[in-house]
């Protein structure tokens, strides 16, 4: 069950036009940028991308936007915090121009929708968003004395994840805050592709240190991780 792919290009070679792709990473932490670049190089179109944001540490997303590869984005904190920086970003410009459809979720709801898909849960009731624009078009229901919204699972065709270390059968171990969206997106993707800094043999990661069990990961590719200097967005 060797899941190692020889190159980034090979790892993304079958992604078709119209695919939905969850992309992990929280600003500079745990972002599988090399996979995004490989996707930009392939030039497939009409993509739906599901990612936290399209700003700091995730600037590679903008190449997809500039290439007009993206039809829709589902995010929770899509833009730069700074209105000025945002106004200069291709992603925000494309949304303003109506060139890409944008859906925004609360941050907790966003990952819970992905977690639900990976866990075979069709939908769940969360208190987040009641009384806000988030509730538009959604069922609202009382449990006990509190109101909740019904939120549906999101099942992406692919997930791009990042890990500090992988073994050849896809077990992944993450480093500090780079874990973030990676475990739940790995479980959600029908095909999950992991960009990793180190590949070791099975048995070389302590079984209690595996943050993403190999069953969720279909492809592993070694990358030289791009270095970011984190700075407030």
């Amino acid at each position: 069950m060797d899941k190692v792919y020889p190159s980034l290009d090979a790892a993304v070679a079958d992604i078709p036009d119209g695919a939905s792709i969850a992309i992990a990473g929280f600003f500079t932490a745990g972002t599988p940028s090399p996979l995004i670049r490989a996707l930009a190089k392939r030039g497939v179109k009409d993509l739906t991308i599901i990612c936290m944001q399209m700003g700091p540490g995730n600037e590679d997303i903008n190449q997809l936007i500039v290439n007009k590869q993206v039809k829709k984005a589902i995010c929770n904190y899509p833009f730069y915090r700074s209105a000025t920086r945002g106004a200069n970003s291709p992603a925000e410009q494309a949304v303003r121009a109506g060139e890409i459809e944008m859906e925004v979720c609360p941050m907790g709801t966003f990952s819970e929708k992905l977690r639900a898909a990976g866990a075979g849960i069709a939908a769940f009731y969360t208190p987040t968003g009641v009384g806000t624009v988030v509730e538009e078009g959604k069922e609202k229901r009382k449990f006990g004395d509190r109101e909740y919204l019904l939120e549906l699972a999101i099942k992406p065709d692919y997930a791009f994840v990042y890990a500090y270390k992988a073994d050849t059968i896809g077990n992944l171990s993450c480093h500090k805050t780079a874990r973030n969206y990676n475990p739940e997106m790995a479980a959600a993707g029908r095909i999950t592709i992991a960009a990793v800094e180190n590949i070791v043999r099975p048995g070389e990661i302590d079984g209690d240190m595996v943050h993403i069990p190999g069953v969720y990961v279909q492809r592993v590719v070694k990358v030289d991780r791009p270095k970011y200097f984190p700075t407030i967005d």
Partner: protein
């Protein structure tokens, strides 16, 4: 509703200090972006555990340039340090904690707070994005999940408009969630009867604060100057 009067109040740093004093030892706290982040400067050494939304507990002080790790950041994308007892988990687990009621206090910024404790903070229509589009981030989950929500903000906008209002005109983050508002001018508690003015900045009167606050304030019989 342009508020003409300009009042001199606390700096952003002192708003953060006043909030730090409000936090209790032995509690778990999440600090939002902006003034709330500054609260961390005032609690070093205290028995308060900070949570970072991306998946960290016991978040330490900001890292100096030499210590920066791109895999060790806070939810504002600032490099941070570890403390003894720091631990990591997924973003989903982090929001399980938040929605599950494990944050004793969330300190958040705001664009507007209503007299009923409604919070509007995620979407400034002035930015001109399409309707319902903006950076929700963790604000909605924190607002409904935290046991106590403290707002840290300037009392009025840069243009002098009310931020403490009868009814929010900006898109809501959550309804009826705010417990305490700390501004450059005052400390105001949201009570079932309305907004209770508890403290005013040095040199100000209750009338001064009322003049820059849209809803009618209930003045505490124990009204005092903000102290640190």
């Amino acid at each position: 509703m342009n508020v003409t009067k300009k009042l001199r109040g606390l700096s952003r740093e002192l708003i953060a200090l006043r909030i730090a004093n409000e936090l209790e030892d032995g509690t778990y706290v999440n600090l939002g972006i902006g003034i709330p982040t500054l609260v961390s400067d005032w609690i070093e050494g205290r028995d308060i555990v900070l949570q970072a939304e991306l998946g960290m507990l016991n978040t330490g002080p900001l890292a100096s340039k030499d210590d920066v790790e791109q895999d060790l950041i806070n939810a504002s994308c600032q490099p941070v340090t570890e403390l003894p007892g720091s631990c990591y988990f997924s973003e989903n687990e982090s929001f399980s904690m938040i929605r599950g009621g494990y944050m004793d206090t969330a300190v958040l910024g705001a664009l507007q707070v209503s007299e009923k404790g409604d919070l509007a903070g995620w979407n400034n229509p002035g930015r001109g994005l399409p309707d319902n589009i903006g950076n929700i981030g963790g604000s909605m989950d924190l607002a409904v999940g935290a046991k106590k929500v403290i707002i840290a903000m300037m009392h009025v906008t840069n243009d002098g408009e009310y931020k403490i209002v009868k009814k929010c005109s900006y898109p809501l983050t959550a309804e009826g969630v705010v417990d305490l508002i700390v501004t450059d001018l005052s400390v105001i508690e949201v009570t079932p009867k309305g907004l209770l003015l508890r403290e005013v900045a040095p040199g100000l009167t209750a009338a001064d604060v009322q003049s820059v606050t849209e809803p009618k304030l209930i003045v505490s019989p124990d009204l005092k100057e903000i102290q640190f």
